[in-house]
């Protein structure tokens, strides 16, 4: 089986929320080793050499992201992004609740790697239970001397604070997250300056996804070469893929990047009996669909980009022939229209008008010009907003509109009243 358990090892078998259980399985050994025998620069080098890329959606190389930090004396911060809300994604939710000590070890390693003495984890407001679990995790670690002053006798102080959001998808965007962490409205900031230069409280800051930071632990344990040896040329290592929709065994599956899409669907139990595959949204709500002819596509950053979509957060929603794509498109667009923070006019108004038009089509009351309007409006939203949310509105819509135009056309009113 191509499923490999790296981060997901032990989930469902042992109570990994218990620090003793986690330590018995080798937990916090890498942290101790890093503090005692490695320099922060060594951690950065390991991250860089492993080829680890951001697992939150953008896929930016983690080592390079860290290297943008200026070398000055300002305090710097590590922020772990656990504001998981990309439609179809549920991997961080699982990691947070099922193996919180691994997440914490990753955060501590990351903080040490960039020389931060205060790390934050921003947890989505809906994950109330996850936040409670993580608070207990921190308390256990504090008692064990893994958080606080003078860690491992090295004189290094490190504090971790849990910050809970309150229901805003946009706070997954890193500058919106920082604003929310500063107690402000979760509105994205104008970039540059990027967070590496002026982030939390105006200080150098790195924002990394939960899964990204968690992978630091096995990378230090087994070596950067081990991680870099799997996957493809530019998409190295493992990734947790959240597979849902019309598959028989939806769930989180950890695989090497580059696994063919067909195999991923098989891992998730395949389609329901007698059903035909119509479309796959391969990388969360922001990604365009791929179709039957893409089944042999390797699931990695480059191959998906080449196919006109993206890997994103690694959330695959599989849709079979029972799917109404007009409704699906309306659903997706409504999401972004609802979650737009409202700062940029194209995103705020464009998303809203697309939703209105699609709602009309869902009702079967479309007018003939609607289809053309759907094709055009998206282009007027993309690329001209402060953050990528606006760019995310159209890909799904345009891909299914191109593939299933008849479903949209069937919703246009046949008779129009002549003036």
């Amino acid at each position: 089986m191509p499923v490999t358990k790296v981060l997901t090892a032990g989930i469902g078998e042992a109570d990994l929320r218990d620090i003793d259980v986690y330590r018995k399985r080798g937990g916090y050994k890498q942290l101790e080793r890093a503090f005692k025998t490695m320099k922060p620069a060594d951690v950065l080098e390991a991250a860089d050499k492993s080829g680890l890329r951001g697992r939150g959606g953008a896929g930016f190389p983690t080592g390079r992201k860290w290297s943008f930090l200026p070398s000055n004396d300002k305090p710097r911060y590590l922020v772990c992004n656990c504001d998981e809300a990309e439609p179809g994604t549920f991997k961080d939710h699982m990691l947070l609740e099922e193996t919180p000590h691994l997440v914490l070890e990753g955060i501590l390693l990351g903080a040490y790697g960039i020389g931060s003495h205060h790390a934050y984890i921003y947890i989505r407001g809906e994950f109330k239970r996850g936040a409670e679990i993580f608070n207990r995790t921190i308390e256990q670690a504090r008692k064990a001397g893994l958080i606080g002053k003078n860690l491992f006798g090295t004189g290094y102080d490190l504090e971790v604070t849990v910050h809970r959001g309150a229901g805003a998808y946009i706070c997954g965007e890193e500058t919106a997250l920082l604003n929310s962490l500063e107690g402000k409205r979760g509105e994205p900031r104008l970039k540059p300056p990027f967070p590496a230069v002026a982030g939390l409280y105006g200080m150098p800051t790195v924002v990394n996804n939960v899964e990204t930071l968690a992978y630091l632990v096995p990378i230090l344990e087994k070596g950067a070469e081990w991680f870099a040896s799997v996957g493809t040329e530019r998409s190295k290592g493992y990734k947790i893929i959240s597979i849902s929709g019309h598959v028989q065994k939806p769930g989180n599956y950890e695989v090497a990047l580059g696994t063919p899409v067909r195999e991923l669907i098989e891992i998730a139990g395949g389609l329901r009996e007698g059903r035909k595959l119509m479309a796959i949204q391969p990388g969360g709500g922001s990604s365009a669909c791929i179709f039957e002819e893409h089944l042999d596509l390797p699931y990695d950053y480059e191959s998906l980009a080449k196919a006109g979509t993206m890997l994103g957060s690694g959330a695959m929603v599989v849709m079979d022939d029972t799917t109404d794509f007009v409704k699906a498109a309306h659903n997706m667009v409504r999401f972004f229209a609802h979650e737009s923070c409202g700062q940029c006019t194209p995103c705020r108004e464009g998303g809203d008008w697309l939703e209105t038009v699609l709602h009309r089509l869902v009702e079967g009351r479309g007018v003939p010009s609607d289809i053309e309007m759907l094709r055009r409006v998206g282009h007027q939203i993309t690329g001209i907003n402060l953050c990528p949310l606006g760019d995310s509105i159209e890909p799904f819509l345009l891909s299914v509109l191109k593939r299933f135009p008849e479903q949209f056309e069937a919703r246009v009113l046949k008779e129009t009243v002549s003036a």
Binding site: A85, P87, F127, K184, M319
Partner: protein, 254 residues
Amino acid sequence: MRKRSEDFPALLERLRPQCEEIIGRYEHSRSALLPLIHLFQEHEGYASAQAQNAVAEMLQLTPAVVESTVSFYTLFFRKPVGKYMLQVCRGLACSINGAEDIMAYFREKLGIGHLQTTDDGLFSYEEVECLAACDRATCMQVNLDFVYDLTPRMIDEMLDAMRAGTYAVVPMAQTDAPERTWKTVQDLQVARGGKSFGAIGQPNPNNGSGIDKDGVIMIDRILAQQPRFEGRTKERLANVEPSITSVLEHEDLQ
């Protein structure tokens, strides 16, 4: 939970040490805004104006800044809500697995729609965006506790247990009686990107939605009548008795 008899100054005094502890976690006090509002909402059931003012004073901000921030986040309720906040996922993965049927079932059983509270103040109902539990579609949260793989029978049992006071999830504090919706008219307009609904009380000619004179949203009226997505939930629904029709398909909420 604040007792009805406890007035706000007493609650504030009781929570003050905890507030100070929260503020102390951050290098800049304003960062404590969200956790403090969470704390007061836990005790009052909603983020009351008094609580917002108290937070403003503690953080040396103006009340307007606090309200502006609080109004950005959908999990902060600026008006009282029911004791059980039922938030059903309407994300894509849930939708194609029967969430529309589940939502229609809730609406029928509760006799209310999206963003509304029942007259007895027990239930508030909202259809929310992806809850990150797509492998267990269709899912929902009750007072932020997850419930997975929903079926109509589960919903019946859940609502019965809540009415009887035996449900496993602790009811939210309720220090003031809820109105029909916890959203303000401005909230609803902002949620629509600032675009006008038309005059309040008038349905929007574009999409058959609108808000009535109390600012209550009437949406997805037609959606509930459309042929629904089929999915795993659909199979589970096949064996269930009561026919699934939306309360909203009958008439406007006048």
